[in-house]
Amino acid sequence: MMLAVLGLILRASVVVTGAAVLTFVLLWFAPGDPAMAIAQARFATVVSADVVDQVRAEVGLDAGFWSAFKDWIGPLLVGDFGNSSVTGREVWPDMANAIGYTVPLALTGLAIGLAIAVPLAVLAARNQGSVLDRFAVGIASLGVAIPQFWLGLLLILLFAVQLGWLPAMGARSPTHIILPALTLGLGVAASLTRIIRSGLLEARGQGFLPAFRRRGINEAHVSRDHVAPHAAIPVVTVFGLELAFLLEGVVVVEVIFGRPGLGDFLVSAIFARDFPQVQAVVLLTALLFVVINLLIDIFYRVLDPRIGEHDA
């Protein structure tokens, strides 16, 4: 088992390395002159060619591919994300600051999503075919089809503009998190409901369960000891997928609600061609992803050692 886990860790490291290389390659070969964009972002005006050249040399864009790569990856391995091309400040503190806005939003959104999805899915699965079940499936299907940014705008329209109950833009006060979190949460709830419900239904359909029930074993015990572990696998898969959903949703939601989080950080960095910042965000999200999926894979092996027989 340990060997299998080590294999997974090795695999994950390869993937992370690949991701880092891919990120760097992408940015390096992006068209256009990044030096110009950086200079413009720095000085907020149109700049002369001399200034652009100066910026280019300063930021290291005139170096070759390999030396630039080495200069980037070296410090990265010890956790140094480099300095912003635009402000010259270290990337990490600004990024950490942005994360400080994003993480509470993501977690709150996830919490709202779970609070809605889990009870709804459990009730729906338990009463399969009933009106409640069909309602749940219907509304979840609808929820998954609605673009998050539209939902956000609708919520702003309703709660901020028409009713004036909640603030829309910025992140000044704790109440500013409500609408964005609700937007995220509703989207998460929709997709989680579908998946948890079908996971539970699938587990219930397992052949041995009716036999248990016939022997009079308590329904709750059956659920806990046999349905739950089997349902756990797809549910855990879902968490991995939901993470992606959350990360994507957060970017969009932050832009709509004007929150200074990671999404905003990323988008501004892209416009300004601030490579160190873009690379840092992309790599961080990739790393997070890979680590979480690694943990999930390890968790699967623990739950069901048969998994992994067809792995490369």
Binding site: I146, P147, F149, L153, I270
Partner: protein, 262 residues
């Protein structure tokens, strides 16, 4: 299955023929009538430049649906080729291909697409590239899984013994077995592509004005949220309706596929 086909035909009809029903040129600027609400003249109102929203919505179908179709098709082709290569190629090829797929999968699709589209410069080309290159992986996994299980089937061995080229084996024996599962994946990806196109349009990457893509229309609408809130309802509803319809189709397809294999 029948409802799926009916729906598909409706979509295609909408994308191809919808614009014929558009009362106005979607890019015709008409400042005196700007930001007017729904009326007899402009059933859904006009936007900030006086363009008829209904017309823009109908033309927008071409962009949102048409591009989504293209993107999901590109992803399908790349992904299937990659997946089959991994299944056919022997252990080393399989490992390399799988690690590459994992590497691409390490980036959340939209985030990666935003970065790529943003760096390549706004525009339809970058949009298609960005969304295609972040979506092929799911097909690859499915194709590889099915390919691996098919490799040991008797008739595949017979075909190889008969001297069939790997390409011919793939075409005759692998692809037909892949089609049902790939179609199911494809419907899901088609829906994602619609959402992705509109999301990127909303963020300002992707399809550029004056092209009436639904996401870009929402971006315009956002600026005038307080003055003409209705403007933002229509494009969003269009996206949601299409995605919902496709998802329902996909679910029906998946159910019929499960029925057939069990």
């Amino acid at each position: 299955m029948r409802s799926v086909l009916v729906l598909a035909v409706c979509f295609i009809a909408l994308a191809v023929f919808g614009p014929m029903f558009a009362p106005y040129d979607p890019t015709a600027i008409n400042i005196p009538n700007r930001l007017s609400g729904p009326s007899a003249e402009f059933p859904l109102g006009t936007d900030a430049l006086g363009r008829d929203i209904l017309s823009r919505l109908l033309y927008g179908a071409r962009w949102s649906l048409g591009l989504a179709f293209l993107i999901s098709l590109i992803g399908l082709c790349i992904g299937t080729l990659v997946g089959l290569a991994a299944a056919q190629g022997g252990k080393l090829v399989d490992w390399i291909v799988m690690r590459t797929t994992d590497t691409f999968l390490a980036f959340p699709e939209l985030v990666a697409a935003v970065v790529i589209a943003g760096l390549l410069g706004a525009g339809t080309g970058s949009l298609v590239f960005a969304l295609s290159i972040t979506s092929w992986m799911r097909y690859a996994r499915v194709a590889r899984g099915i390919g691996l299980s098919l490799k040991s089937r008797g008739y595949v061995v017979q075909a190889q013994l008969a001297g069939m080229s790997p390409l011919a084996v793939a075409r005759w024996h692998f692809v037909p077995a892949l089609v049902p599962s790939l179609i199911v994946v494809w419907t899901g990806m088609f829906a994602r592509a619609i959402l992705g196109i509109s999301a990127l349009g909303f963020l300002g990457f992707g399809v550029q004005p004056p092209m009436p893509e639904w996401g870009t229309m929402l971006l315009d609408a956002r600026i005038h949220l307080r003055s003409t809130p209705l403007q933002m309802i229509w494009p969003g509803m269009a996206v949601a309706t299409c995605v919902l319809a496709i998802n329902l189709c996909g679910d029906a397809l998946r159910d019929s596929l499960v029925e057939r294999t069990s």
